[in-house]
Symmetry: C2
Subunit: 353 residues, 2 copies
């Protein structure tokens, strides 16, 4: 008899539009297989056509141009592994609880993206002196619950970030054309930023001389520290240093003996320097072994820690990562009304019997 097929599945958060988590506790491959990439949509999937292979660049440029997908394939490209994390990842863990998709830890994946640096494309169009921000529009559009009308998913970057040499117009993921659900044929990929910046099904790039204020820039993807006012709002940008305990799972029951604790850590503000583990609820911390992927500044780092437990009882296991910028995970994430940027210690309460 053949062995039964046992595999993890995406975690369904919603179908209209489709939102599904990567089954992060059950997959340890450095590069997330396409099938297991988390899916996060604001609208229904766009209908593509011949036109969808065109990318126009206009606005405050000297020569507006339209590139074809094939043009990009022929240009010099770069490729790197990038952690893409939804800024709402772990939203379910905020206390007080917040509204929105109740992502647990799996709204994050790592892929190898290949594409053309946006700055290389902009060399063809030139930039006017008035240029201030660059707006990226996807092919996806639809309605919102909070304001009337039809909206395209659009985001902007300031010039400095847009011109970073690793801000790319990607056309391949893991060595193949980008999967449709991940933005085929072209996707903006902005390493180190939360994934709302990496606009899928990229259709149009517009250089503007003002600050862009579309709803996905000025209403969503904004930290609101107050429940009842917009005071102190700041935009969501770089990924906060973060880690996850993949195994054991929260509320697992374990034997006495030796256990391998393991997981990942990543950051948008530097490379991971340490991952520390506590098995006593944060009283004492020890360093985990870490395995960064060499020469990969935007990827995640695996960690593991051997835990020998002889005493039966309940234990609170925690992980906390620190990065080369000096950022370290906080014990409690900074609460904000829409639930972005969660990065408190990863925690698993276990019982040993």
């Amino acid at each position: 008899m053949r062995t039964p097929d046992i595999k993890p599945y995406l975690v369904t958060r919603g179908l209209i539009p489709e939102n599904q988590e990567h089954p992060i506790h059950f997959i340890s491959s450095a590069i997330t297989p396409e099938y297991y990439f988390f899916r996060r949509n604001h609208f229904s999937y766009p209908v593509l056509s011949e036109q969808s292979f065109l990318l126009s660049i206009g606005g405050e440029v000297q020569r507006p141009l339209t590139f074809h997908y094939q043009d990009l394939l022929r240009m010099p490209s770069k490729e790197f592994a990038v952690v893409l994390e939804c800024s709402g990842n772990n939203r379910a863990h905020f206390r007080p609880k917040v509204f929105g998709e109740q992502w647990e830890g799996g709204a994050v994946s790592q892929g190898v993206w290949r594409g053309v640096a946006l700055r290389d494309l902009l060399k063809f169009t030139g930039l006017n002196a008035a240029a201030k921000e660059i707006v990226f529009e996807g092919h996806d559009s639809g309605k919102r619950t909070d304001i009337e009308g039809e909206f395209v998913f659009a985001r902007s970057l300031t010039l400095d970030k847009a011109l970073h040499p690793d801000t790319i117009i990607a056309y391949a993921l893991n060595g193949r054309p980008i999967p449709y659900k991940q933005g085929y044929p072209l996707r903006l990929v902005v390493p180190q930023w939360y994934a709302m910046a990496s606009v899928k099904w990229l259709r149009r790039i517009t250089v503007i001389d003002t600050h862009f204020n579309g709803p996905f820039q000025e209403i969503d993807y904004v930290y609101y520290p107050e429940k009842d006012s917009d005071e102190g709002k700041t935009p969501v940008t770089t990924i906060h240093v973060n880690s996850i305990i993949q195994q054991p799972l929260n509320r697992n029951v374990l034997d006495t003996g030796m256990h391998q604790l393991y997981g990942m850590a990543w950051s948008g503000t530097g490379f991971i320097t340490t991952v520390e583990i506590s098995v006593d609820g944060g009283e004492n911390w020890n360093r985990a072994a870490i395995q960064p992927v060499p020469g990969n500044p935007y990827g995640w780092t695996f960690w593991n820690y051997t835990w020998v437990v002889t005493q039966k009882g309940e234990y609170t296991i925690m992980s906390r990562a620190a990065d080369s910028s000096g950022s370290i995970q906080p014990e409690t994430a900074r609460w904000n009304r829409k639930g972005y940027g969660y990065n408190a210690y990863s925690t698993a309460h276990v019982k040993v019997e």
Copy 2:
């Protein structure tokens, strides 16, 4: 361009052994498709052989007999839709939290089971006067965390339950042979009881003259009301009256306007008589429309409720079902150390904007 395939997935709780939830919020078919049936295992999947098609009945019987799978196919059979619910379903919702698989609402499925009444098989073997309980052993076995040794998954029923005309040795699910992961070739199906009673990969039936005290009878599947002692322990048996709000999801953001709230209700102690909905956190309740499946005493009932909401704000939606025995869902489930039998109101906090 073809429409992208968007479908829900099982919710992975564990792979060794495999434990996966039915994606209950996203599937509204009366009969759970095989692919979406929840999977709950205590051990690795058993290796089957020719021997696995034999079912022996022995112990306190007049004529021990071994039946072949093919024998059962030729006998008079009965078929009905049955809700199988893991007694740990919704364990994640107990407060204080408990250890074990953190099932949310999807450890429940409904299938149409066909098989031979156990009492009909026992007519062939006869019962000795000393017969008191009947023990059912599966082909699955393995280790436990709490006690040393190798254990077979085995459960017992008292004579009255075992001889109930609808306690069957099933050989078909939804009109086809039972899927391997659901107990192929033979599974005991005990309607109205939590699903631990419905032993998969059924191998042996033994009539005994005492009370069976295997660990899945006397340690697991027991309500322990106290955290630190076994005082007041009682066995897990019938399914508590229960309901679920399938949509909206907890923490959804909705428009003002009309919304269809819907879900299911079921019970092991009678048929569903009412499902009531509150949209104000339990202050006021209104009856939902219910659609029982006619002539199906062991199946679930669909309910729906049209909610017109004009006022923006936060709302707490609740459902509570009652059954023909007079049982009604409680506001708070009865806490027990291992987290069985959760059946508090189903709740969804939503924001209307």
